[in-house]
Assembly symmetry: C2
Homo-oligomer: 558 residues x 2
């Protein structure tokens, strides 16, 4: 029996899963919550306060994940380290850090430890919006073709927004950094002792493409003179496709983990993207939805198409040999969590308690009893802006149709439906622009928890939805890439296609559209589209003006 | 010392207040909750179920109010019945019933007791919408001028909507009824033994005007042949102005109440309208807002003006000698009650309990700490439709601007602000159409309870707001009209103007607009107006289409 280990680095913790290579069975799991968690108030062991919108991490927490979870899964499973043929990792992205040439994080050096810019910038570090604006304006002014690949706008979360913030605010840190690197690639470096750069984060977060590489020196110079040679100075043009082997486990990493030196380590990957083959998808036409607080949608294509308002597409970005298209909704489960925290009366909490139910379960039960359309409610799913297809963080929520008889479960259902309408717009936009989609595969926390939501999605979108069998799809996907890094000769697989055939599974249940339900949702969706375009495409920019009033007000009403 | 008694007939109970005529001091109060309350499920002592939207009452409950509350205030105050010089009443409207020629309600006759149409139809009986539609369509088709007096549309709550429903659904009841009469006039009939019809309900609810009387026989015939001579057969063209004496107390009523036979009884009045002089207003330019679950706005004018979208104007309808203009918001306090019941999380209820506060108080406290505009929220105050200026029951609520950081107190405040914006549109519509307003006087439950709301109104509207000193303004107003019915010779007053000078008072506190606050609200109001017109004036009838989908859905989704 051969095994592979996948390590999934999340926002709050890292998780290792030990998987049977012959069938994908998850034998053992261990989780390590980061010691310093998300650093968003002050730097550890100091009184140095962070600005709002900052979110940092400690790179040593990632090393502690390896040291804690891998020995734990070996122990729990009783598997012999010699039978572990490969290891793969996936990470949140863009999560990046400055290091010295040997990989030492600047924040680990005493002279920089008190400097916020020396630490890891987590994906949800949102303080680089001015830099993102500059990047977008400059790209438009210089007619940069690559901007089209990203729906016409890049995010404050991405690599060069964060890098430019360092240049702007901490030039000494920028100068001292020999490397600026995705945390995904940095942890692989820690495992193998060799720096490798993966095609997924390079493509989706750092503006790289297989055909054209990175943006030009001229372009970077226009952002900031110091940034002109950032690629040559701090990055690498040697980008390795996901699905390749990064190297063998170093002696030091073998010591940390209890695995054998030389064990195959896969090229780094991103949590959402690595879930695609783990959800059985290695071909075009089947969109994977990773549904949690937000949702990431991924679909493969054989051709290159500009799809307006998407997050991006990258050749070899998800599965080698295909263009990987990514879209997303910035607020899905977060809507429901917000509602439960702020909008559910005590009487409902009492009822849930009495009946021994989770409050979400109670709301789902009540919402499931409603006929489609009977609440008269309609919402726009923009409590956290709109990622696709409007790409506008300044949009906000809207609900219409409330009466004095409106009940909490009706609003809860309207929020679920709103996210389904938002998903349908994404899917139709792909379809209209040459990226076919005929089936959906869901994974993540929500499909497990909320069957009502799944049926609503099927009815609103009009496509069948299957569900990934694994509850920890990213970790499984990383283990699959670990098995591919090992290769067939060592008991693994020669390609991710082969691995997916054996190791990835779907549940038996399928959510099929109900034609009667579809008819009613057709009418409601038509209303959604009108409001979506009215508030989202410039006819009435009330949401933006209200945000501007809000900003002014918070600055002091003057 | 002379006294007058005002009896205020509300939705759930009747209230008598004994007032010192020399200064308006309220000496004693007694409340009688109607035995049968609002009858909206089944007829008393039967299994006869009512349709949704029905709301009936038992006329004997009104008599019981006299029998219980007047002896109670005499006893509590120790006042000699001989010193009570007059009595006035006010009622909800249009609340109407069919009776025999001697005033006996049809529902009191054994042969009709099981017939829902024989009972009192309460103001909020909403089952006559088809009849209201017919009345409006026919009036438009026949170019009836009177329709303009009512903002172009009359309500299902009004007199002829209810009368036509009786004709349509229970022709035998209609035939058996010698009289169709406002409950306001019916209780005065019970006190005096003589039928009198007041100018207030005739004008505001039954399409009468001083110059033109009722609509024509032709018009009524077009509604229904049976209705052609409804005025001659069941009503009266002898309409007496408010401020007049209806008659003296009958021997029977003296026995019920403990008052002296012959005590002056004022012509009946409506709860909202009688509050105007009790709030010190007997001249143009000062609008009275009676603020509770809904709000009624009244202002006097010296000239006749068509003001689009108002509830109506009636010469001598509020104060003799003036045109009384009425507008209203169908949902004010009800918004906040809905929110507290459906949208406030358990953690807030816990906090309120711990601090010994009412939940409204807690929300007000939290909302008061917010800077204007800092929530980024904006709402349309249409949870129960829009009475003025859009006159459209099919409009529904809307809120925009929610984010994941939105808090309950922000939504609560947005609802308060929405009702203030709605009020401002009403005021501006009056002003633009020749009815000047330069000051507001508030009465009712809300101004007592919510100082934040009052300041928001002053800031949004930009006018000073004073507050009536009485907590039971309608009953005080009725007592004032009782003193006027008695006249100066008996220790009362010759006119309501004279009575108001002495008996009506304002609190010392005045809410003045804060210029800094006004600046921010100016911007928010501009956004409100755009959304008000977009959803309310036909650009996007989403609210109506969603209601239609809702109706279809409730009928069974087919």
């Amino acid at each position: 029996m051969k095994y592979a280990i996948g390590v999934d680095f999340g926002t709050e913790s890292g998780r290792a899963v030990l998987v049977d290579v012959s069938n994908g069975k998850e034998i053992a799991t261990a989780v390590y919550p980061y010691w310093h968690g998300v650093i968003d108030e002050k730097l550890p062991d100091t009184e140095i306060r962070l600005e709002p919108d900052w979110a940092l991490q400690d790179p040593q927490d990632y090393v502690r994940v390896f040291k804690n979870t891998i020995p734990a899964v070996l122990k729990e499973s009783g598997v012999d380290a010699a039978d572990v043929i490969g290891i793969g990792i996936d990470f949140t992205a863009c999560t990046m850090l400055p290091t010295k040439a040997d990989g030492t994080p600047l924040c680990d050096l005493p002279e920089y430890r008190d400097h916020p810019h020396a630490w890891v910038k987590l994906w949800k570090h949102h303080a680089a919006q001015p830099e993102a604006d500059k990047i977008n304006e400059t790209a438009r002014a210089m007619n940069q073709d690559w901007l089209n690949r990203y729906g016409g706008k890049i995010s404050s979360e991405w690599f060069f927004s964060k890098a430019l913030q360092i240049v702007n605010e901490a030039p000494e840190i920028y100068k001292s950094a020999d490397r600026l690197i995705e945390a995904a690639d940095w942890v692989v470096w820690q495992l193998t002792g060799v720096e490798t750069r993966n095609s997924c984060t390079a493509g989706y977060k750092a503006l790289w493409s297989k055909d054209n590489g990175f943006p030009s020196t001229d372009y970077f110079a226009s952002l900031h003179p110091e940034l002109a040679t950032v690629i040559e100075d701090k990055l690498s043009t040697d980008i390795v496709s996901v699905g390749q082997k990064a190297g063998g486990l170093s002696d030091q990493a073998a010591q940390w983990t209890g695995l054998k030196s030389g064990t195959a380590v896969a090229v780094a990957n991103v949590d959402a993207h690595v879930a695609v083959p783990a959800a059985t998808v290695t071909e075009p036409g089947r969109m994977v939805m990773i549904m949690g607080t937000s949702t990431c949608d991924m679909v493969l294509g054989t051709e290159e198409h500009i799809v307006p308002g998407m997050c991006g597409y990258v050749e070899d970005g998800i599965i080698p040999g295909y263009f990987g298209y990514e879209a997303g909704q910035s607020c899905v489960g977060d809507h429901f969590a917000w509602f439960v925290e702020n909008g559910v009366p005590a009487s409902y909490e009492d009822e849930a308690k009495k009946r021994g139910m989770d409050i979400h379960q109670l709301l789902e039960e009540k919402a499931a009893k409603l006929k489609i359309g009977e609440s008269g409610l309609l919402a726009l799913d923009w409590w956290n802006g709109n990622r696709s297809v409007l790409v506008d963080v300044d949009l906000t929520g809207m609900m219409i149709g409330m009466t004095l008889a409106t009940k909490p479960e009706e609003m809860y259902r309207a929020l679920i439906e709103a996210t389904a309408y938002g998903k349908r717009i994404i899917i139709e936009t792909f379809q209209k622009n040459g990226v076919p989609i005929h089936e959906l595969v869901a994974c993540g926390g929500l499909p497990e928890k909320n069957k009502l939501l799944m049926q609503i999605y099927a009815d609103v979108i009009g496509l069948p939805i299957k569900v990934s069998a694994s509850k920890q799809t990213p970790a499984l996907g990383s283990a699959m890439f670990g098995a591919v890094a090992a290769g067939k000769g060592l008991g693994g697989y020669d390609s991710i296609y082969d691995a997916a055939k054996v190791m990835a599974h779907l549940k038996d249940e399928i959510y099929l559209p109900n034609p009667e339900n579809q008819k009613v949702y057709e009418k409601l969706y038509a209303e959604y589209v009108i409001l979506h375009d009215y508030f989202g495409r410039g006819a009435n920019d009330a949401m933006k003006r209200l945000k501007e009033i809000k900003r002014t007000s918070r600055r002091g009403n003057k």
